[in-house]
Amino acid sequence: MSQSSTEVTRQKEQEPGTGGNFKTSVGARHGWDRFFTALVFAATLIGLAVLGVLLVDVGRQGVPVLSWHFFTSLGSADAENAGFLPAILGSLWLLGIVLIVAVPVGIAAAVYLEEYANDNWLNRLIEINISNLAGVPSIIYGLLGLGVFVYIFGLGRSILTGGLILSLLILPVIIIATREAVRAVPQSVREGAYALGATQWEAIRHHVLPQALPGALTGTILALSRAIGETAPLIAIGAVPYMTFLPEGLLSSFTAMPIQIYNWTGEPEEAFQNLAAAGIVVLMLVLLVSNAGAIWLRNKFQRRN
């Protein structure tokens, strides 16, 4: 009886699990655990804080300007009358062209490289080039477009030229994202299809692509968001500083949201600064919505799979 009670007290004196060959106390290790948790949380907060400050700062300046008039009016040299409509429509046009051009071409190229391409020097060269293209500064694409689409093909400083340049710009990103997604589909899925007498295309069309879709879609929408926010290449081909009419077609001259914002911030009057802030708010909202859409789509397709 007395022996067992001394054992109990001895256990209380010393933390269970320590003693003998194991010196470090679990308490100290938990301390480090908490420290690193705090550290990584702080790192996360920095990104969030920057976004928050930006939103508050821009919002204070820009939200009062947001009005029916702002969304429905044409551009003007007069801050009182200036609106954002041509820029919004211009960005939508660009987005449409990019959707039609870059998405199918990008997904098709990714499928070729991942599923069909043999491992030879030509395909390796293509692969290396695509990776490099993803890192080329966007202004270079603008200058390329100026040379090729404006001067050689004679498409002018048009919506079409802008859309094609943005398509080229995000094509490597779409290809890389889609390849990753296609590669993640296990080989056993393809073999299961082949074993039933499926052709390669049938296996890709019915099994590989549907399974790769969430990943490909996420990468593609993030790339589209980048295209919406891109400014430099459009300046290079000479998008219009302010438009007193709405874009009429593919060969119409145009402006886009980031261009309009950039031009407004260059004006000395404070009223223009406020317009720029309002434009930023709209652009940010569009980006938030499209990124949220990407996440929603991904989740939807993942559940279905």
Partner: protein
Amino acid sequence: MANPRRTKEEQKVTEAPQNRRDTKKGTGGASSDDAGASAFGMRIENLSAHYGSFKAVTDVSMDIRANKVTALIGPSGCGKSTYIRCLNRMHEVIPGARAEGRVRLGDQDIYARDMDPVRIRRRIGMVFQKPNPFSKSIYENVAWGARINGYKGDMDELVEHSLKQAALWEEVKDKLKKSGYDLSGGQQQRLCIARTLAVEPEVILMDEPASALDPVSTQKIEDTMDQLKQSYTVVIVTHNMQQAARISDYTGFFYIENMGDPGRLWEFDETEKMFSNPDRKETEDYVTGRFG
């Protein structure tokens, strides 16, 4: 359920010529069991399989009898899986992999220059080691293969019949719209068997179909196989010697004599003889569990 293609009575007639096959596929010949490569058996001559410069299997010749279960056993890494993948031209799907030799299905050489592997794989189905259902509904898992091959009959009946043959129908009949992934491992494997049956192959290759499954699921798959050989020729790779002894009529023992050599077919005979009185010592050591 009225079975449109095969009645119970027909299934029970093991040795009778399979008229369904003869008329449908027109491969010709009677399905006699004695003449080696019959219309629905397979004859393999001097088959070797390579991965790039590495030779994994060499010089295998065997006759696979129609309407029998042929088991392939042997220690790990001796080329059983590689070999079975050569029998429906699945081996060459792996980059750099190739096979040499002759593999005949009926009187056709499946490695002939003008032979389309897509056509071959429809006639020689395969069930893999790891269950690999499609990320589609249970119904679609079974129907898909039949649909791409242009099945013209009643799809609902085909799905039901195939699932019944694979002993899965009772467990899934109320949730055919659910994803194939929602099933347990054993059920997934039976789903894979069902989808293979749905395209009406002549031969079914099974690469360790029960190796990842629990005993109850294994039992169900073994029961299924007993039924299957009445309508199909079955080849099964297994690590489980009791399983080979239980379910197979013929057994092939693969073996590598020296490290780094390619795998060979060491002995091939009726299962009863292989497990009671094999000709070669290594076979006896292996089947009695002395190594491997």
